[in-house]
Assembly symmetry: C2
Homo-oligomer: 435 residues x 2
Amino acid sequence: MQKIDVKISNALNKIGQNAVSDMLPEVLAAKEHLLKGDAAGNDFLGWVDLPENIDGSMLASLKADVARLAAKSRLMVVIGIGGSYLGARMVIEALQSEFAAMDRSEKPYIVYAGHTLSEDYYAQLLKVLDHEDYTVTVISKSGTTTEPAVAFRIVKAHLVNKYGADEASKRIVAITDARRGALHEIAVQEGYPMYVIPDNVGGRFSVLTPVGLLPIAMAGYDIDKLIAGARDMRNICVNGNTLEDNPALMYAAVRNALYRSGVKVEMMVSCIPNLRYLAEWWKQLYGESEGKEHKGLLPHSISITTDLHSMGQYVQDGERLMMETMVRVEKPHATVPVPTDEQNLDGINYLVGKSLTEINDCAANGTIEAHVSGGVPVVEITVPTLDEYTVGQLIYFFEFACGVSGYTLGVNPFDQPGVEAYKKNMFRLLGKPGF
Amino acid sequence: MQKIDVKISNALNKIGQNAVSDMLPEVLAAKEHLLKGDAAGNDFLGWVDLPENIDGSMLASLKADVARLAAKSRLMVVIGIGGSYLGARMVIEALQSEFAAMDRSEKPYIVYAGHTLSEDYYAQLLKVLDHEDYTVTVISKSGTTTEPAVAFRIVKAHLVNKYGADEASKRIVAITDARRGALHEIAVQEGYPMYVIPDNVGGRFSVLTPVGLLPIAMAGYDIDKLIAGARDMRNICVNGNTLEDNPALMYAAVRNALYRSGVKVEMMVSCIPNLRYLAEWWKQLYGESEGKEHKGLLPHSISITTDLHSMGQYVQDGERLMMETMVRVEKPHATVPVPTDEQNLDGINYLVGKSLTEINDCAANGTIEAHVSGGVPVVEITVPTLDEYTVGQLIYFFEFACGVSGYTLGVNPFDQPGVEAYKKNMFRLLGKPGF
């Protein structure tokens, strides 16, 4: 097994190596809090041992349900918001073709709902569902969160209208609380297969529970390999006690050292488009875990070389606020040669014989050099390739580093008190009884 | 005509009304620079009068080419990077279904290339092109920019292989320099229809040139209405001399006043998913125009309510760095009722009878209230609906406000010196002759 590489040599333009090395006692103490469960938020540490604790009979049942549903349909609507869809979407978009919606021949396709209240979005979705054979997974701990509750009513009504109540119930899976809550109750009444969101795993850490595993399996990806990647990375994160041996400690150390030096924004830089939702998942993981008490790095993201032609100017020469965390993938899945051209009017014959990945790597290295000289520290996170196993590694790596980083920052990384603020106002404005 | 509404009453929690009103002389002076062309970057002011200057015979020819190409195919590959694709993509994604890739019955569909060097992306694209009838638009001023040049070689080779050289030449349109450059020369040799990127319009201001108009027309949208919206907004922006009469002056004034008060990040908050690429286009427009000399608001974006469940915690309680610019749309295109449920286990029967748009509006208002009380100023930009006309208004509004804002900030809003930095390094690393 190759571990994820975290390289900080290009992140030392604002701080010295010592500023990072000196973090070791703090990140080790934070790691101990995660392992001993003796600090704030310790009732939400179920994710720490999750890769070792996944119930085999649950997995077998989940795979059987997925096989049954995939035999019925090539399209699944996944209803969920925040941590109830970002993990699955991150894995699926990392692994599927950017044109998966157009080329439906290979694998079932996932569409998302319950993450928006846009009326047009639901009208557009229902139009698609009119002429597709589809199934539904609804994901909500309580079953009363406004967005997924509204979406589930809308989609369920369409499903019942299309297939009748009996068949509709056979096309729905619920992922919810083990014992209580509105969705649990509906699922019991209607006889939906049910999978459990554990009480001690928060939404943003839930991708290795059925919340992520069921949609990922439905999309045709190997969840055993995903879990194996997470399990192997857990061993490294739990057992490594130096920055060099433990990439999660290194990442937590360098980003906290940079934050203390005055950096306010962390920009995840994806080197390939398939990592767009890795950045979205990471934004929730870090923004929601650390953005409290007026602290924390603001998560931002760009994709290169795409956004070098839009945000590149700002990164190079704008306000000096930021660090970058570049996610690199060494080997692509496919080979596309640059065709030669006798006339060479565009002047790019010098690229013929190089792979696109090699050209992209040179662009990334040139970007790092330019941004470092512009005063932007760059952390590099490299995986050998992008598959279920390495994505599983990335998941656990970022989760563990997040727990370590949040404790090092001095916050409870496992609550999210600020998320309620808009909801209370919304309920009052909507005239919800009791608000 | 209803003008775009810019509301700043929720942006005055960090600064007083006077801090905005006092900006009037400065934004008026900046506006005069745009109209007189007497300040830095004045060789790139072609966009100011563009909505009045679009050549009717060019438009007629463009529409004829689009009709010819649409008759051949239902898919167009648009090759371009930065300003050579973001404007078209912004308009198309604002107007098309979020599921347009899956429902190809109504309009031709656009896919993008030349904006990435990802090897897997091109492998995935070529796989789609194997079984689609397609056409190509290639957009590049010089024809030598690495990403689109590489993409054009790859796609052209596929096209020639699929249709033969003669038919391939009939399926390509070039948008490039009027007189010179590699792409101009290739187009002359091969007999591609050619449209001009004017010398005095920079990439990020080019959506109302053929760069944007051709792909937008190909996607089935009414470019006359788009231009009419821009033209009407131009009248307002050019003639309005108070903050109340001129939304572009108001927006430029409030964001500069907030920047001077210490705000470092401007987050565009889209209230519906279709505006995702409005935010991407806006990031280039403002980031590339203002992010220089270590100045400028860092552009960021979220979509609500989606990202209230990921970035909401940070916005509410993280570092106090930011303002928000919320883009609101009053009327949806469709109606989707919330179904009633006798048991009401999910507790949302109180929403039955309200439209989803009303619920979404209450969520937006609740969000504003929460963020304002958390110390985040919120500017609201509202359009009555989202169609070609209002999108045309938004384009000109944001462009004019950007020119005013950049001059007010004290930078040349029309250059982008920092974009070259990574390219020089990349060329050296790739062994390009001369580097």
